[in-house]
């Protein structure tokens, strides 16, 4: 995907490799194809929103409302399907992504109109969207029995299966939407004028404007895109857990922000790579899903993840400082 892997990504890969070696030494059970399949499956939803957030962050903005959008989109479309008896995966994705796009546009319009920092706006709309949903749509939970059956088939679907010691492991079909999102985003960022514009306004909005880009239009696109990906993620999430709750997902957005930042994305915009964001998500899921393997109890979970997050961010920031010094840029 990337022609040359930059310093951040090299660092992340090293962390992943060292940690994996450590875990496999502690517990050889880690070394099996199922581990990879499991991580792909559990991280697939986060990957999609991380890619959406990456685009927003490259444009110099930030979005913390995407989980609320994902919930709004998936909950509403599945509720429609339950009530009308429609049993079509395409419909679920289409409606959810449409809702996501609309909510994303609301974000962009508010940001452009009020000229406030995107963080404040999206923090507000996060609560607003969730509140509108629970107040005016519904706040009931639905179990696997009433959900459309196509959803469960998708959630359990595998591309292929391999036999393991005591059963079988399959590679989830959720990988396809992740790949689609990744490829589409790569194409948009690298091969289109809009993608160039996103990077340009992330670096400097005024210069971008003078170069002929329209920041408003670009912002509309960026937030709508993030919203659409969030809508898509919502359906995959519901399919995987095979249940519909009105209060899940919202509250996990900072973990995704952390993953994207760990992936080397500049929080001020203008810089960021899809591969980096993917690695950031992988690190968090790797840490989250190996505690049992190395024999640590659940109580260690937060401590461990928090510590590694700080270390990872410290290392990447140190890398940047070294790079800046070598370019004779002194930021501090």
């Amino acid at each position: 995907m990337t022609k040359k892997i930059d310093q951040f990504q090299k660092m992340l890969l090293i962390i992943i490799v060292i940690y994996s070696v450590f875990v496999s030494v502690k517990n050889p059970q880690f070394l099996q194809v199922q581990t990879v399949f499991d991580i792909v499956k559990t991280s697939s939803t986060t990957m999609i929103v991380a890619i959406g957030l990456l685009v927003v962050m490259i444009s110099g903005g930030i979005d913390v409302s995407f989980m609320a959008i994902a919930l709004f989109g998936s909950y509403t479309s599945l509720l429609v399907m339950i009530n009308t008896g429609i049993n079509s995966l395409v419909f679920a994705f289409a409606l959810s992504m449409l809702i996501g796009t609309c909510l994303g546009l609301v974000n962009a319009l508010l940001i452009n109109w009020l000229k406030l920092p995107p963080f404040i706006i999206t923090l507000g709309t996060q609560n607003l969207f969730h509140g509108i949903m629970t107040t005016f749509i519904s706040d009931k939970s639905f179990g696997s029995g009433v959900l459309p059956s196509c959803l469960h088939e998708f959630g359990q679907g595998t591309l292929f299966k391999v036999a393991t010691e005591n059963g079988s492991a399959g590679l989830t079909v959720s990988l396809i939407p992740v790949l689609l999102a990744g490829i589409a985003t790569y194409f948009v960022l690298r091969k289109t004028m809009i993608g160039r514009g996103i990077v340009a306004i992330g670096n400097d909005e005024e210069s971008a404007r003078r170069a002929g880009f329209n920041p408003f239009k670009i912002r509309l696109f960026v937030y709508a895109y993030s919203g659409a990906l969030a809508g898509m993620m919502g359906i995959i999430y519901a399919a995987q857990v095979n249940a519909l709750y009105p209060n899940k997902m919202v509250g996990d957005e900072l973990m995704v922000v952390a993953a994207v930042v760990i992936g080397g994305t500049k929080i001020t915009g203008g810089q960021g790579k899809i591969f980096g964001a993917v690695l950031g998500v992988l690190i968090i899921y790797l840490l989250n899903s190996t505690l049992i393997l190395i024999g640590l109890s659940s109580s260690w979970n937060n401590l461990f993840v928090g510590a590694i997050l700080v270390i990872a961010v410290a290392v990447t920031s140190y890398q940047e400082r070294v790079k800046n010094r070598s370019h004779l840029i002194f930021t501090e």
């Binding site: 099996q32 299966k161 995987q240 095979n242 709750y245 009105p246 209060n247 659940s298």
Partner: protein, 360 residues
């Protein structure tokens, strides 16, 4: 000019929202008074017959139930509380925190203390974290009744339990042992390590299995946390399967066993590895029917909510609750009082055969 227009439109919408908001509220209040008035007359006759305390008109008491979070379990509890309102005319309502943590429950309680309600019922997410706020409420003369929090019973007026926790834990153990033929490795899940009842069941179950089924082995010294989410149960189950490929059974003290079943289905282990879980018919019936979950255990949240709120009313109105008091809900018709804890006798066991009899 444009700015002025926009601000005018904005303020008009805001005022409109305010008005609409107030409007619905007053309409609501009107509704409740009319319904309660109707119920009042019938209930007044009832209470006059059953107790000497004639002044204890339920409609005069405002009782609020704070649940843990919004899910189908607490949705069912809310239906029980609605039923109580219909049956007795008690002015009772339900508050649902946005997130399942102690902080949001505390802030709701603070609001209720300020509103000076008569009684607060709460299903605490973290009982110990709520104690100072409970104390504050009681200092303000508000009756506090908890459910699922026997450990902090000394700090409240009454704690209502559906059953003795030890025996419910043993029920988990017995069902799991039966499903696993009394041998093999098993793992236990709880919602969170701070969740008192989950921990009590877990410990009772593990102790019971140690004593009665020496061939069964717990893979960990501490339960795994599913964070009260299906996703959590699913992800943790996948990990456990990897770390202990020879595992033969799971029991989940939080109602998320469906997540474990999903994980087993993905690995073609459904039915081979047994699952016994706290279960809600609406969330678990498919798993019980397809055989991936062998047993579901439960109590009826609607009845528990009904009993807790009714007990709160009895205490607030000075009638009190003692051993043998009838809380009018199934399984709570004669509570067993031990200290500040009122035990009902209301466990429910689900299998593929009887799951369709319940619709909550």
């Amino acid at each position: 000019m444009k700015k002025k227009l926009v601000s005018v439109i904005l303020s008009v919408t805001m005022i409109a929202t305010l008005l609409v908001g107030c409007g619905t509220k007053t309409a609501d209040a009107g509704d409740t008074t009319t319904t309660t008035e109707k119920a009042e007359t019938t209930e007044a006759a009832d209470t006059a017959e059953s107790t000497e305390n004639v002044s204890a008109d339920p409609a005069d008491y405002k009782v609020v139930m704070i649940v843990k979070q919004s899910d189908s379990w607490f949705d069912d509890m809310a239906t029980g509380i609605d039923q109580l309102k219909k049956d007795t005319g008690l002015n009772v309502s339900v508050q649902v925190p946005e997130t399942g943590d102690a902080a949001s429950q505390i802030s709701i309680m603070e609001d209720l203390i300020a509103q000076d309600v008569d009684a607060i019922c709460v299903v605490p997410n973290d009982p110990n974290a709520l104690v100072p706020t409970i104390q504050k409420a009681r200092d303000a003369g508000i009756v506090v009744v908890t459910h699922e929090a026997p450990g902090t019973a000394d700090s409240v007026d009454l704690d209502i339990e559906a059953f003795v926790n030890e025996s419910f834990g043993q029920l988990f153990a017995e069902n799991l042992a039966k499903a696993m033929d009394g041998k093999g490795k098993y793992a236990g899940f709880v919602g969170g390590l701070t969740m008192e009842t989950h921990m009590a069941w877990y410990e009772a179950a593990v102790k019971y299995l140690e004593e009665n089924y020496p061939d069964m082995e717990n893979v960990a010294t501490e339960p795994y946390e599913d964070g009260n989410s299906v996703e959590g149960a699913h992800d943790k189950a996948l990990e456990v399967l990897k770390a202990y490929p020879d595992i033969a059974g799971f029991f989940d003290c939080s109602a998320q066993g469906g997540g474990i079943c999903e994980a087993l289905q993905e690995n073609d282990l459904a039915g081979t590895v047994k699952v016994v879980s706290l279960a809600l018919p609406s969330m678990s019936s498919t798993y019980l029917k397809d055989g991936s979950m062998s047993h579901g255990l439960c109590w009826r949240p609607a009845d528990a909510g009904y009993a807790a709120c009714y007990a709160a009313y009895l205490i607030a109105s000075g009638q009190g609750v003692e051993t043998g008091t009838d809380l009018k809900a199934t399984g709570y018709d004669s509570v067993e009082l031990e200290g500040n804890i009122g035990y009902g006798n209301a466990p429910l066991e689900f299998t593929a055969d009887n799951i369709d009899d319940y619709n909550f």
